[in-house]
């Protein structure tokens, strides 16, 4: 058994090398907000934060995650409120079926934490590995812009 720090809590998991973080999160820890979309790191539905950086949970072997801090969509906000990126997605109406949304939100949070005011090209490059089959890309770009402004003006109005 090994210890995995998920959303600030130490969780004990079996250390079997062929298992991926996505499997452990969804099937063993019950954290189903992180989605399975492709299993080959091509769709971004399983995006989580590994020590604060975006990572594909379906491509992360459980051994690589041990001893590091994992943040999933369920742990993004602190307390009862929403993370500014989550609020921005609601404000922009940036979803249809919503299945890609957790991955998009986490990827956006990772981007804005290292680059608070990204250009349009930088946003597209950072999110290019995240698929939205409903085609909501333009609204997602709008949500990222709103989140960027919100984070740049804590407490201030976004528009």
């Amino acid at each position: 058994m090994a210890s995995l720090r998920v959303n600030g809590v130490d969780r004990s998991v079996a250390l079997e090398p062929d298992r991926h973080l996505l499997y452990v999160l969804r099937e063993e820890l019950g954290l189903t907000g992180t989605k399975y979309g492709c299993g080959e790191g091509e769709c971004g539905a399983c995006t989580v934060l590994l020590d604060g950086a975006a990572a594909r949970a379906c491509q992360t072997r459980i051994g690589e995650a041990v001893g590091r801090s994992v943040t999933t969509i369920e742990g993004l906000a602190s307390g009862e409120g929403l993370h500014p990126v989550q609020q921005a997605f609601i404000d922009a109406g940036a979803f249809q079926c919503g299945f890609c949304t957790p991955g998009m939100v986490v990827a956006t949070a990772a981007l804005l934490s290292r680059n608070p005011r990204p250009s349009d090209a930088e946003v597209r490059a950072a999110l290019d590995g995240n698929l939205c089959r409903c085609g909501g890309y333009l609204r997602i770009l709008d949500a990222v812009e709103r989140a960027s402004q919100r984070l740049g003006n804590p407490g201030g109005s976004t528009r």
């Binding site: 399975y36 997605f89 249809q96 995240n130 698929l131 089959r133 409903c134």
Partner: protein
């Protein structure tokens, strides 16, 4: 017998015997019974379908029920707005249950853009009828004539009295168990008088999407649940000859079933189920299948005959052969589209569980009632013993109609005595779902010297009849379609045949316009027989500042071109503008898309805009690069790394022009906006480089030829 065993689905009981009030408490229930479909059109010859019911409870809230489902297309909020509008309630006081087969009206399925023209209209009538009853109750309570009662925000009061002498809906229905039917003379609120529907509104229930708390079928878990996997044939058309389940059954906790062609296993963990299905030994009898290179000839040589095909038209007017004789201009062209995959981000998923002799199936499906019937048939149990629930679903696009997975999960759950969940892997989704059919369309036209159409022959192979008819005035027409034996599983897809047929027609019309040196917008406007469609085209031309000139047969010096296409389908009218730039290396860049759309009275403007934008994005995947490669019945590119769908880098600026027509009935907006995209891009490529592309996808490797025959 447990409570579940005694439950009878509402649609299988006469309205008067349904336990509305036992389930949701005292109050008022208004029912619009299912209707027997007419002799033609949707559901012709089928059972009565549709209808709606609404419960107004002592809490003052409304609970509405429809057989349609939400798989991400945004109809939940739109339908709630309709109910809120008719009942004069805030949106937050309306709850909508969709597609739950125990409590919702029977519905044939959520496809064909029918949620607005059917479900919304049914809920409108039902809500309006409920409002009439509430007015009557309030009139008695307030001691005035019904004409002197006004309803607003869930409160009834004497007209003009302000807040004095008001009474809430909860109080009006307190202690009642009143069941009413929608009267034939019920008058819903005209869209021109809407104050909620048709106006900006926030979508309902969105917080759980962004927090990850929303549970899709693939996220659901029940105590003791096992994971299921199916054994699939190695190639399309292969038949199971022999199977040996011994090795799989010897694995710890594994249950296996074999019924006809179904071979499936279940295990306590997903990894265990994957290992178990790999341990099954099977022999297959292959059926020879044509290769991708041979498929066009194959389809021409393999027409499918029989009465099974409802989606067939044979339309003739005038005499096309005579009209071609001596025509100054005759053109011919063959247009094709590839097999493409829906690739919903959530793969097919189902969770089956038994309570005694009653089965509950939670499934991401567009056809819950059809699924109930298929499960009932397959398992040989009455429909009343099957309960289908549609949890939040990670999109469908016409790809989630089949019930095989549900049947497999039900059989496994029965054998295991435990709930079983099955979810496709991405590879299974690509190989075991069905595809949008390959289309092969032969067009022959004849025109006068100024381009006026004389004759129009449009022969469709394999795709279907949607949007095959022409919206242009042509005296002599012959339009038909021929189903064929497909070498891959094929079925419904968002805007299915309409995309193919519209691509062929709008490309060919553009060829005619170029041939006579006419401006493509003016050429269309001169001959469009549909005034509403012409309005949409004019609106888009105005929006983009269309510069009237013929498209450039020799290409443009800067290889920057623009194209236009229109379409009329499922009651919606679309005009799409595309601007492209072709680079020195042939790289095709989409510079700008403008999508104009009109579908009658707009119910939920923000969601319609979202559907038009998202539809344009989805359509540009099929227009530019999506294609299923196959060989001998095997799919060769069953993963996102090999099957290219639109990504952020591919998305041009997309502008949406909505024309609201509150004087006209609301039609759907989920499909028709797609059908202008491919021809608009193809026409823009022609304008840019003088190359006419007649096959979708247009640029599978991202490039187009720089010159004709180049």
């Amino acid at each position: 017998m447990s409570a579940a065993s005694k439950t009878i689905p509402f649609d299988l009981l006469p309205p008067g015997e349904r336990p509305y009030f036992d389930r949701w408490g005292n109050g008022l229930v208004v029912v619009l019974p299912a209707r027997r479909p007419g002799p033609s059109g949707w559901g012709a010859g089928g059972p009565p379908h549709g209808g709606a019911w609404v419960h107004v409870g002592e809490d003052g809230k409304a609970r509405a029920f429809t057989g349609k489902v939400e798989v991400g297309q945004g109809t939940r909020t739109a339908l709630c707005l309709i109910v809120a509008e008719e009942l004069r309630l805030p949106l937050s006081s309306v709850e909508l249950t969709m597609g739950d087969t125990d409590v919702c009206p029977w519905d044939m399925g959520t496809f064909g853009s029918r949620s607005m023209p059917d479900a919304a209209q049914h809920l409108r009538s039902t809500g309006a009828a409920a409002r009439t009853v509430l007015v009557g109750l309030a009139a008695t309570k307030l001691g005035v004539a019904p004409a002197n009662v006004e309803l607003e925000g869930g409160v009834a009061r004497i007209r003009g009295s302000g807040t004095i002498a008001s009474v809430g809906y909860g109080e009006l229905v307190a202690g009642l168990r009143r069941l009413e039917f929608v009267a034939p003379d019920t008058r819903p609120t005209p869209p021109t008088e809407w104050t909620q529907a048709g106006h900006p509104a926030r979508d309902v229930a969105t917080r759980d999407i962004v927090t990850g708390a929303r549970e899709y079928t693939s996220d659901l878990h029940l105590p003791g649940m096992l994971h299921g996997k199916l054994l699939f044939p190695p190639a399309y058309g292969s038949r199971l000859r022999r199977v040996d389940l011994a090795r799989a059954r010897a694995m710890p906790g594994v249950v296996a079933v074999h019924e006809g062609e179904l071979v499936a296993v279940a295990a306590p963990t997903l990894l265990g189920a994957i290992a178990a299905v790999k341990a099954v030994r099977a022999e297959w009898e292959p059926t020879p299948q044509p290769s991708e290179a041979e498929v066009v000839d194959y389809l021409r040589q393999h027409p499918a005959e029989g009465e099974d095909f409802w989606d067939v038209i044979h339309h003739e007017a005038g005499d096309v052969a005579a009209a071609r004789v001596d025509a100054p201009i005759t053109l011919e062209g063959t247009y094709t589209t590839a097999y493409i995959a829906h690739a919903p981000l959530e793969t097919h998923a189902v969770l089956a569980s038994w309570d005694g002799d009653r089965l509950t199936v939670r499934i991401g499906t567009q056809t819950p009632f059809r699924a109930r019937e298929a499960i009932s048939d397959e398992l040989g149990i009455p429909p009343a013993k099957v309960h289908v629930i549609v949890p939040p679903t990670g999109s469908g696009f016409g790809g989630k109609h089949a019930a095989e997975l549900a049947v497999a999960a039900a059989r496994l759950a029965k054998a295991a005595g435990a709930p079983v969940r099955i979810a496709f892997s991405r590879e299974e989704e690509f190989t075991q779902a069905y595809f949008r059919p390959l289309a092969l369309i032969d067009v022959r036209s004849a025109a006068d010297r100024d381009g006026s159409l004389r004759s129009w022959e449009f022969h469709v192979l394999n795709a279907g009849s949607a949007a095959a008819r022409t919206p242009y005035r042509v005296p002599n027409q012959k339009i038909d379609n021929q189903p064929t034996e497909s070498p891959l599983a094929q079925a419904s897809y968002r805007a299915l045949a309409a995309t193919a047929n519209n691509f062929a027609r709008e490309s060919h019309i553009d060829e005619l316009a170029a041939h006579v040196g006419a401006d493509p917008v003016d050429y269309r406007l001169r001959q469009l027989a549909d005034g509403r469609l012409a309005e949409v085209l004019r609106a888009v031309a105005k929006k983009v500042g269309w510069d009237p000139r013929p498209s450039s047969a020799g290409g443009r010096p800067d290889r920057r071109g623009r194209g236009i296409a229109v379409g009329l389908e499922k009651g919606g009218r679309v005009a799409t503008f595309a601007e492209v730039h072709v680079g020195d290396d042939g790289h095709l860049e989409l510079v700008r898309l403008v999508s104009g759309f009109e579908c009658g009275a707009i119910v939920h403007p923000s969601n319609l805009r979202s559907q038009v934008e998202g539809g344009a994005v989805m359509a540009l995947g099929g227009a530019l690069y999506e294609t299923i490669h196959f060989e001998g019945g095997r799919v060769l590119n069953p993963r996102f790394s090999e099957y290219r769908v639109p990504r952020f880098r591919d998305i041009p600026p997309i502008e949406v022009v909505l024309l609201d027509r509150p004087d006209l009935p609301s039609e759907g907006g989920g499909e028709t906006p797609l059908i202008g995209v491919a021809p608009a891009i193809a026409n823009a490529v022609f304008d840019a480089v003088g190359v006419r592309l007649r096959s979708l996808p247009l640029a599978p490797d991202g490039t187009v030829p720089l010159a004709p025959n180049g």
